[in-house]
């Protein structure tokens, strides 16, 4: 074993996009290998939990932890990695704010199970549901238990840094890798604990090249209904709900640049308590009407406000979950 600092990456409830994004840093990955000893990275190399368990506490220098806390296995490993790592980075939208898995918090777990195992797409004549433990001659098999609610990493363990994005932009990952390496070489200082790294501290509009004017919106449309979209003008101004104004910068306005509205994967700007609330007030502020009836009819243009505003952030929002989720789960 070399005495290079140890690096780990883990994948909890997430899609794997974060891993791809890491590989997307191209030759930089070699720097990672040159400077680190990769000790644990299930998606890239074979490793067993018990190997990690046997490591010394704090023996891993840097762990990029992606994925949200969907089940007890996720949480166990979260605690494990916390114990073993010096720097634990909440990596990507799932770990940081729950992301799409977090939308499960709009429903009770059993309903989710039903949808997964009883809908027409699932041929399940005998209503078989996964059991958390199952007896076989060889002994008992175990499946992880679903949490009542999807949580963010920070809601389960203490986190050193946050790195938003679905997935984090590769150039940002590269920048972070560089930073850590420079710190190792004593050329740089780590930012204060708890800070957001690999992102800007303004919002997407800051990096968006589109022209912006005073906004007076008489109707909201879905993007496919506005054709052709003016390629040079602010998307929100064209009546398409764009989450850019409230979403942390750092992605270099990737979606608006290619003519798609921002859907908010970089999460809230610095110091914001509730991401959705910012969008509620932002969109309401540009509605150009005074009569309740007219306002309502304009707002009908946003058919699913909750989804629009909380696609990525629900698990980390003030409300965290819908009543149906926690009431049915007998919270």
């Amino acid at each position: 074993m070399s005495n290079k600092p140890k690096f780990a990456m883990y994948w909890a409830a997430s899609c794997g996009g974060c891993e791809i994004a890491v590989l997307n840093i191209h030759e930089k990955i070699l720097d990672v290998d040159a400077n680190f000893d990769v000790v644990f990275w299930p998606v890239a190399m074979d490793a067993k939990y018990k190997d990690v368990e046997e490591m010394e506490d704090k023996s891993i220098l840097l762990t990029l932890f992606n994925g949200s806390m969907r089940n007890d296995e996720n949480e166990k490993i979260a605690h494990l990695m916390r114990r073993k790592s010096q720097i634990l980075v909440s990596f990507g939208s799932c770990a940081t704010e729950g992301c799409v898995p977090g939308l499960a918090n709009l429903f009770p777990v059993n309903e989710i199970m039903d949808v997964a195992f009883h809908t027409v797409t699932t041929d399940n004549p005998n209503n078989i549901l996964p059991q958390t433990s199952f007896e076989v001659p060889e002994g008992t098999l175990h499946l992880p238990t679903m949490n009542s609610r999807v949580k963010t990493l920070a809601q389960v363990v203490d986190v050193d840094y946050y790195m938003p994005g679905c997935p984090p932009e590769s150039h940002q990952i590269a920048a972070v890798v560089d930073l850590v390496i420079q710190v190792l070489q004593g050329k740089a200082q780590l930012p204060p604990k708890g800070s957001v790294i690999g992102a800007g501290n303004s919002t997407v509009c800051d990096e968006c090249p589109r022209a912006r004017n005073v906004k007076m919106i008489k109707a909201f449309h879905r993007i496919q209904e506005v054709a052709p979209l003016d390629p040079t003008l602010c998307i929100l101004e064209q009546g398409v709900p764009c989450n850019g104004p409230a979403t942390r910068s750092g992605c270099n306005a990737r979606c608006p640049r290619v003519g798609a509205q921002c859907i908010g994967c970089y999460g809230p700007a610095e110091g914001v308590l509730d991401y959705g609330a910012r969008l509620v007030t932002a969109f309401a502020s540009v509605v150009d009407a005074k009569e309740p009836a007219e306002i309502e009819s304009i707002l009908d243009g946003i058919p699913d406000p909750t989804g629009q505003f909380y696609r990525f952030n629900l698990a980390d929002s003030l409300m965290r979950a819908s009543t149906s989720n926690w009431k049915k789960n007998g919270h």
């Binding site: 059993n110 959705g276 309740p292 819908s322 009543t323």
Partner: protein, 152 residues
């Protein structure tokens, strides 16, 4: 205290009309339900939806938002902006299972102490009828694995 459920309601008032309406009600010794705790803002336009969410998530069963009558806003027209936010916020909260009846926007001029008292009583009854909301106190401090129940 009676047996019936006593809702906890956080109220937001503007400094010029509705807060003074509360003063007027007081000066006139108008009696009304004690369930509402008022927070003074300069204008209903100051109302950040975050305030409402924080109140509900923090244990309030309902939120009352009050401002000057349309056209009478001391800042000319900011209460209209409050109205727009309120309407979108109500839709958003509905998506999270918060009954629209739990947040209410009313206009009250400085002179309308009686009206404010009446509206408060009415709202308290409406929320009482909806029952407790008691949003969970999410256990946020990173802790040991919290017990997960069997599901399915």
């Amino acid at each position: 205290m009676s047996e019936q459920f006593e809702p906890v309601i956080v109220g937001f008032t503007c400094n010029w009309c509705s807060y003074r309406a509360a003063d007027t009600a007081g000066t006139a010794r108008v009696k009304y339900a004690p369930n509402v705790r008022l927070i003074r803002l300069m204008c209903s336009g100051r109302l950040d939806p975050t305030f409402v969410m924080k109140a509900l998530a923090g244990g309030a069963d309902g939120v009352l938002i009050t401002g000057c009558h349309p056209g009478d806003c001391h800042y000319i027209e900011q209460n209209y902006k409050a109205l727009r936010r309120f309407l979108l916020l109500r839709r958003t909260l509905a998506g999270l299972g918060v009954e629209p009846g739990r947040i209410k926007l009313i206009w009250a001029s400085a002179a309308e102490g009686l009206k404010l008292a009446h509206e408060i009583n009415q709202f308290v009854e409406e929320v009482r009828a909806l029952g407790p909301l008691n949003w969970p106190k999410w256990n946020d401090q990173p802790a040991e694995i919290d017990a997960v129940k069997e599901v399915a």
